[in-house]
């Protein structure tokens, strides 16, 4: 029958792991750069989209106000995506959250889940509607400068793709993300309860 003191002695006697601090330093630096690069690529991609839109807006003499409004809506959508990405990226990697007390950290993760849900449902719906509206407005001018068939095909393909994204791809994505987040929240709530008992 062993007492706790004996267990403590066993614990103290364990061999210390051999750790290579230079190697870990090298890895933390590489990892930090990788995160920074990911952010940079996302920002560059969206900035490129905005630049292309601006260029097209400047170079092509659109005649109808509907087209100008549609381009404005597209750019607003791009900016929205850019800021949403940046904000989520910063939240995911907001390392200072790891410095909080466990219950605050758990709360932070719960808030993150709620905000992700809001982004994936309400905000994405607004984004889709705006994009759809932008396309309809854009194709008004196309209708006047080209054939009706070209307008119908172009509009159908664009709207079709948006609908596929909204009703199929996004729902798959939401289901997957929520399943994973729910599982995480479940575990975190259990832990939170353990700490408060």
């Amino acid at each position: 029958m062993k007492e706790f003191d004996v267990l403590q002695n066993i614990w103290q006697d364990q061999q210390d792991p051999k750790l290579d601090q230079d190697e870990i330093l090298k890895r933390v630096k590489r990892s930090r750069n990788r995160l920074a690069n990911k952010l940079l690529i996302e920002v560059l991609f969206m900035s490129f989209a905005i630049a292309v839109l601006s260029y097209a807006w400047y170079m092509i003499p659109f005649r109808m106000w509907t087209t100008h409004l549609s381009l404005l809506i597209f750019m607003a959508c791009c900016l929205f995506v850019l800021f949403a990405q940046l904000s989520d990226y910063r939240r995911i990697h907001a390392e200072e959250d790891f410095l909080q007390k466990p219950e605050l950290y758990i709360q932070h993760l719960k808030n993150f889940k709620q905000e992700r849900h809001k982004l994936n449902t309400q905000k994405y719906l607004v984004y889709t509607l705006l994009l759809g509206l932008g396309l309809i407005l854009f194709f008004v001018e196309i209708f006047f400068v080209s054939s009706i068939w070209l307008t119908i095909i172009g509009l159908s393909l664009s709207v079709g793709w948006i609908l596929i994204c909204y009703f199929w791809l996004m729902r798959l994505y939401i289901r997957k993300e929520e399943h994973y987040l729910n599982e995480m929240i479940e575990q975190l709530e259990r832990l939170s309860k353990q700490f408060s008992e």
Binding site: F4, Q21, R32, M184, L191
Partner: protein, 165 residues
């Protein structure tokens, strides 16, 4: 930058073993403990500037380790281990000895505890002062003492039960 590296190395030397014990106690698996320890020190590096004015650096590092362990599921699900999967700890054939068996059994018993109990007891075993454990776990010292008493009893019972098997 050189100063930052020096500071990091000092912090690493002073805390890595205890952090590894904490992660091992939490996961019951040395490879995962290795991943979690690396992730903890990654966060330490990223927050090093914020650490500089802190009196109790070890408390901050423990808290990062605890939160990293708590969100272990997230890491596991993301499968985003990539570079973290390589072992920092030198792999070597475990010596077979009674002492090693006892240590393995102790880890096995710790893994049977609830998650928060695993974290608290590994800190107790590593002789981290109670006020610091209270600060790390975010519970009052009074509650912590009661909790520790209960966990010690539970762990001792588990150990004695498994030892007989």
């Amino acid at each position: 930058m050189v100063n930052k590296e020096k500071l990091f190395q000092e912090i690493f030397q002073a805390n890595s073993k205890k952090i590894y014990h904490l992660c091992y106690g939490y996961t019951g698996d040395s490879d995962t403990a290795n991943d979690l320890m690396q992730e903890t020190f990654l966060k330490v590096w990223q927050n090093l500037d914020k650490f500089r004015n802190q009196a109790m650096i070890s408390t901050w590092i423990y808290r990062i380790a605890v939160n990293t362990c708590l969100s272990h599921l997230r890491v596991e699900k993301r499968q985003a281990k990539d570079e973290l999967t390589e072992n920092i700890i030198e792999s070597k054939a475990e010596e077979f000895s009674e002492k090693n068996e006892q240590i393995a059994l102790l880890y096995r018993c710790i893994s049977k505890l609830e998650e928060n109990e695993r974290i608290i007891i590994t800190l107790v075993l590593d002789e981290v002062p109670y006020p610091e454990i209270a600060e790390i776990s975010g519970i009052s010292e009074g509650n912590l003492r009661v909790k520790i008493h209960r966990i010690k009893h539970k762990l001792t019972e588990l150990y004695n039960r498994y030892e007989r098997i």
